[in-house]
């Protein structure tokens, strides 16, 4: 469910600048880290310490669990991500991220509640 950024005032937000995760998952050259945009309105995407994404154009805030990434090299799709699907992704990501990243991931797993 979406919400607007006024409802998460405690979050710290950073511009989402990273390589293409879809290319990385396919062992393709991901190119340099670059700013990501919201597919529906081309707004700049930010990532929060609360494990949410925020669009600077429409101001919508979403949990990271349902997001996928489409760079110039390919198309992707929107997935109704299940709890198990997200958990498998976190388990995979946990091997290649820093200790602080692992903490961030664990915190938002806990914040998901009974979802």
């Amino acid at each position: 469910m979406s919400q607007y950024d006024t409802q998460v005032p405690e979050a710290e937000w950073f511009s989402l600048v990273m390589r293409c995760p879809a290319c990385l998952s396919e062992q393709k050259e991901p190119g340099p880290a670059a700013q990501w945009f919201h597919a529906s309105d081309d707004g700049f995407v930010q990532v929060g310490s609360s494990a949410q994404y925020r669009c600077t154009s429409c101001r919508c805030v979403e949990h990271v669990k349902s997001w996928r990434y489409a760079c110039e090299a390919h198309q992707t799709d929107f997935r109704p991500t299940s709890s198990a699907h997200l958990a498998n992704a976190l388990s995979t990501a946990g091997q290649i991220t820093s200790v602080a990243g692992r903490q961030w991931m664990q915190r938002f797993l806990e914040n998901l509640g009974e979802w």
Binding site: L24, D41, F78, S83, I96
Partner: protein, 222 residues
């Protein structure tokens, strides 16, 4: 608010897909189980210098050949792997009982070793795969920087796409069945039960009873 909460680099339009079958969740279960045991084997190496590897199938750690992470780093991964497994076990708990047997045969590989930090996780892991409440030890926290969060977001995005590919394999072939990889380090589960009894006697007695009185398996809906 958008119906398609996706990121893009302009002109790349997402499309929606169908829900996944149970076999996908069972594959996530086998894979996450592998990564959890892998993290415990890494913990054995950094905390005890003990190397008895059975769970390297999915190891993508950049330092897999020569571990450079600290004990705290590895323990945070163990916690994340247990929390992740908890989410996957819940909807398929009736199909997860084989992991109890596998864990006891893995844990039996620690027989005759002095009790160490890895042993602290035996009870939480077993309770997790039995879908029982469990507690993890407290760990010192690290304040994430912007770089940490961006790296983690990239890694998570990659993990989501890798999970999508697993799902697509099963959607493309309805006959495909999830794997069950075993991690045997002891000839029988009894050495694992004996070691477990040093940590939690009641749980060891309970598991010995459950193993001797298995529940009939139910047919798996596909």
């Amino acid at each position: 608010m958008s119906d398609i909460p996706n990121g893009g680099r302009r002109q790349a339009v997402p499309r929606q897909t169908v829900e996944s079958p149970k076999q996908v969740t069972l594959q996530f279960l086998d894979d996450t189980w592998e990564r959890l045991l892998n993290s415990l084997e890494r913990l054995e190496q950094v905390s005890e210098g003990y190397r008895n590897l059975t769970a390297t199938r999915l190891d993508q750690h950049p330092d897999r050949d020569r571990i450079t992470e600290s004990e705290l780093d590895v323990r945070w991964e163990v916690h994340l792997q247990i929390k992740s497994l908890e989410r996957i076990v819940k909807p398929v708990i009736e199909d997860a009982q084989w992991m109890i047997d596998d864990f006891l045969r893995w844990f039996g590989g620690r027989a005759r070793r002095p009790l160490a930090v890895t042993d602290e996780y035996a009870v939480p892991v077993l309770h997790c795969i039995m879908d029982h409440p469990y507690e993890l030890p407290d760990l010192d926290e690290v304040v994430p920087t912007e770089t940490d969060i961006l790296d983690a977001a990239e890694a998570l995005g990659r993990g989501l796409h890798e999970s999508d590919k697993i799902e697509e394999r099963f959607l493309a072939d309805s006959r495909l069945e999830a794997t069950r990889h075993l991690h045997t380090r002891a000839r029988s589960r009894s050495s694992g039960l004996v070691r477990l009894s040093e940590l939690n006697r009641m749980l060891a007695v309970h598991l010995a009873y459950v193993i001797d009185h298995p529940q009939p398996a139910k047919e798996e809906p596909r």
